[in-house]
Every structure is written in C-alpha cells, then in structure tokens.
Symmetry: none
C-alpha cells in the first residue's frame, strides 16, 4: 500500500490547516478555506472527514492528546506542589495565544465528555491534582470536576478581547488562592 503515505500526509496537513483556520476564524469558518490552506481540494477534505463535525472532533482529539502528553511530562518531572499550578497557568496562557482544545470544543457545541475521568486528559490532570493535594498545596476537598470546569472556563475566556497578560495573571491569582488550603486549617 504505497499510496497510504500520501493519504496520511494529507490527513495531517488538513488537520493542521483546520486547527489554524478554526483558530483564526472560529468554527464557522468554511471547509473550503481549510482545503485551500491545506493545499488540497475540497473533495480530499471530505474523503478524510466525511463531515465538518468529524473534522472538528478530530482537531479536538488531536489537541487533547497533545495536552495530555504535556501533563504527563509535567507530572513525571516536576514538584507536585507546583506542577498543578504551573499546568493551570500554562494552559490558560496558551489559550490566550491560540484557541485551545477546550475552546473549540465548547464553541462548536460538540459534547465529547472532556471531563470524563476515564479520559486520558482527565486522568493526567487528576494525577497532577492528586500530587498537589498530597503535597498539601491544594485543599483536599477540591475535586477534578471543578478543576476541569475552571480550566475550561478560563481558557475560553482568555481568548477574548481585553484579556491581556496582566488580567490573566490577576484572574489566575484568584483561582489559585481559591485552590490553596486556608491558612490555619490543618
């Protein structure tokens, strides 16, 4: 199967173009624009992703896999007490530069069970959270659910006009303070 190589390369190029296009123009951008930037014909896009929705889902999955890798790396190397906060900050900062996972997912109204704890991203973040809690850096009663929820909410919000680095920092400070154990409470 020699032609398979071309097909795989095309799939990757389409995915990359789609991420770029939907990032710039939102999920209502036209599929033609994706094809144009990928340098393929529109038919090729639909051969790989029979529906626009399929394309959106593929992007989201792709981005989530990459994020999960990052989390795993952080968990493996870093100080559990800070890894959790670092990750949280990093995701939101990234989102400010570029629409993230969570955003596309949210905007396109596609339900993908992001918060499903069995999901690999969820699991990875869960591990980070558990580490931070074990290190006493995060209150014990904080659950993965609300962490994911806040991550989602802030990542999406960070894209909006008016959210500069300073506003992001101050907003994150509130969230971080909210996660920390109350002083004087053992």
């Amino acid at each position: 199967m020699p032609a398979r190589a071309d097909a795989q390369r095309n799939r990757a190029r389409i995915l990359a173009a789609a991420e770029e296009v939907f990032t710039e123009l939102g999920p209502t951008a036209s599929t033609e624009e994706v094809a144009r930037r990928a340098g393929v014909a529109i038919g090729t896009v639909f051969r790989h992703f029979p529906t626009k929705r399929d394309l959106l889902v593929a992007i989201v999955k792709d981005l989530m896999a990459r994020l999960a890798d990052e989390v795993a790396a952080l968990a493996a190397e870093g100080d559990p007490a800070t890894a959790f906060f670092d990750f949280f900050t990093r995701v939101v900062d990234q989102a400010a530069a570029k629409k993230s996972v969570v955003d596309l997912l949210a905007e396109s109204g596609i339900a993908l069970d992001v918060a499903d704890p069995l999901d690999s991203l969820g699991q990875a973040i869960g591990a980070l959270l558990a580490g931070a809690q074990a290190a006493g850096a995060v209150r014990a009663d904080v659950r993965l659910d609300e962490v994911m929820a806040l991550l989602t909410a802030l990542s999406q919000a960070a894209l909006r006009a008016g959210w500069d680095a300073d506003l992001r920092r101050r907003t994150l400070a509130v969230i971080h303070a909210g996660f920390r154990p109350v002083a004087g409470v053992s």
Copy 2:
C-alpha cells in the same frame, strides 16, 4: 400615534423571541426562526432591527439593563459582606438556566465594553465589590477587572452540558475562596 402600540408590542415580542432562540440555538440561529417564534413576518424583524447584528446588540443591551437593575437592588437592600457573593452566585445560576448577557455578548463577538467601569453594569458591580471590600469580606487587592472576567468566564461555562447545580456550587466555592482575605492576614 395610534399605530405605535402594535409596533411596540411587536418589538417586545421579537426581542423576547430572539432571546429565546439565540439562547437555545446560539447566535447563528436564523432570523427567520426568530420571526416565526415572534409570530411576525420576516420583514417585521428587519424593520425593527435592520441587521442581525442589531438584533443581537439589542438583546445584549436589554439583558444588561436588567442585570444592572438587579445589582442596584441588591446593593440597596443587602448586607455588603454577602451581597457581592450572592450576586456572583445568582448570575452564574441564572446563566445555567438561560444564556446570560455576558454569554451572548461573548459568543457573538460584539464588543460592547462590558467591563468599562463607566458602564452602568460595571459601576453597579463595582459598588458591590467596594462594599464587600469595605466590610472585609473580599481582599482589598481584588480589582473590578478580574471580577468581571471571572463572572464572564463562569457564566458562559455554566451553560455547558455537564454543569449541574453541584458542579456549579463547587466551582463557585473555589472562586469565592479565592476572593476572601487570607486568614491571619490583617
């Protein structure tokens, strides 16, 4: 001006229908659907709101005015120490039932200076915040900017599938904790 009565009734019905429709289907819902639900012909919608964008803006303004009223009422009657937290909770809870101000605004990409402190809603919330800070219920270094940002982020997030009352409560608990003064710090 006898015929004005009809026009005003229609304008109100269109606005109500539009709020409903865009709430259910997002800002990409068709203007025809709005007309259908308002029980008027499509031309009538365009007579009142020459552009779809105009309709979106009108809804947002309407919702913001209503919210500002609520805030003012809260500020007038309640305990400054709790009014701020109550309001925050109420807005997010409302958003869960129905897309709020902030959401439509954000989704439709309309810039309306919500966070502008001169804006009436911003001013009202600012007063609430100042009251809570004066009462020692909120850290003094918290600024209106991040309050608005978190309000926006959570309101929008609260609409998403998976956000039930419990998740909302726990997420808000994190935020509220983040606003409170650190125990032991004067």
Copy 3:
C-alpha cells in the same frame, strides 16, 4: 371639499420627489425613497399612485406636457428655419443635466406611444418640423418618426458618463447635418 387642497399639494410633492429620485437613482429606486423625499408616508404615495408603474407613467406624462409647452412656445415665437434645430439641441442638452421624459420612459419599459402623432408632444414637434421644412432648413423627406426616434436615442445617450458638452455638440452636429438638405439639390 377643503381637504382636496392637501391632497393636490401632496400629489405634486410626490411627483416632484419621484422625478428627482428616479433621475438620480434610476427607475429601480425604491418607492420608500420617493416617499421620504416627498415628506409623506409610503401609504400616501400608494394612495395617489396605486402602483409604482403608475408613478413612473405619471412622471413621464408630466415631463412630456412640460416639453410640449416649450415646443409650442418655440414654434410661436421663433424662426422656423432654426427653431427645429434649436429645439433638438435643447432637449438633448437638458437630458444631459437631468434624465428626460424619453429616458425614464425607455428605461422603465413602459409603452406610452410617445411617437403617436396625435399625442400633443408629437404634434408640437411635428409643427416645428413642418416649419423647418417649409423654410427649407430640413429635407422634405424627413418624417416625424425618425425625428422622434433620434431625439429619444440622443436624449437617453446624453446622460451617460463620458458625454460632455463637447461630445454632445459634435454628435448633434452630425444629426443636424443629416437633416439639412443636400447642397445643390433643389
């Protein structure tokens, strides 16, 4: 019937506004624009002219009546040998400043039998032509038909971009030469 005065004044204002509007924007201009410029409501326009077509026809009739008056005046006072040419020139020059009779009529595809010799304008121009022929200034075999046709054609053409006074003059010179008796032919 005291209200009749208002009605007549409105009719005149609508007609004037319509002439202006269709002159500026062509016969596809909206009836609303006519109403706006006439300072009346759209319903009033339709009460006077049940159809847009009726409005166009009325304008044409109005303009034709005015033109016919001019022709009659010219015929009464002027030198038969030059009156004809003068008139021809005047109509075309007027058309350059303002869409004329013939133009609106032609553009809107309304058949109104302009060339009907029983029509007052046709009769007036016919008189002018006869005078010029009697004076030997125009060839005897020229008929009213082609005079009207050329008048129509040139009037309409004169409105177009690129027709300045000089082009108009030279084009008219050709036509005038075409009407004159051939030198040496009795």
Copy 4:
C-alpha cells in the same frame, strides 16, 4: 484536466443563457432565471461569476469581442467607402433583433471604457472610419467619439417598441447623411 470540459461547457451555457435572459428581460432579470435556462443549479452560476455584476461584465466583454471580430472582417474585405456605413447599419439592425453590446453596457451602468480608443473594438471601428474618410465617404472632421456615441445611442434605441425595419432605415439615413461630406465642399 478532465473535469475542465464540463466546467467550460457550463460556463458557455451560462453565458449564452445570460445573454438571452438579459436580452429579453433587461439587466434586472434574476440570476435564478439564468441558471434555470442554462440548465444548471444556481450555485454553478455563482461559481463561475461570483457576482451578478461579474456576469454582466462577462457578457459585455463577450459581445464586444464578437463585434470587434466582425469589424475586423469588414475592414479586411470591403470597400472602405461603404464598409463604414455597412457596419453602422449592421450593428443597429442586430440591436433590433437582440440587445447588443452597447446596450447591456449602458443599461447596467458598468463602466468599461467602450469608447477608449485603445480598446480593440474602438480601434477596429476607428480603422473603419479612417478608411471611409480616406475614401472621401465621410467628412474629415468626424471623430471616433461621436461615431461611438451615435452607434451606442441608436443601438440601444433600436430595441424599443415601435422601431421597425422601416423606422430603422430612415433613422440611419439621417445619420449617414450627417456623416457624408457636404457636396461642393472639397
């Protein structure tokens, strides 16, 4: 490029249908009607001509190219003394059967510099005129400007109701006489 054949055939059919439709119904005819007569879907028309204006322009260009070819043929073969008059007559006669170049152009308000002497049609007609002038069949002081202007005016006028072959002939006779040198003037 295998699929190109269909596209080219469709483009031609759309152009032909458009010429027919706009000829019959004027430039305000609907693009849908064009699609219907071309036997294609509405989207196909817009793939080839992204705007209605583009379609109009394409027709005009097409017609002008055809006319320019005719003029060139006439100039190559015929007697310079008569070629000019023949051409003039032919264009006007054609216009009577079918809206011509000049007409669509004029009615649609598209500026295309028809009279631009560098334009191929203008050049071709200019050659015809020069030939006729060299042969002494047309006055030396006649310029291309007024020839084009009269051609335009008459072609357009010839479409109107009431212009039968006889009226056309007599109108052209006036124009032709206007072009000819005055007898006795060297």
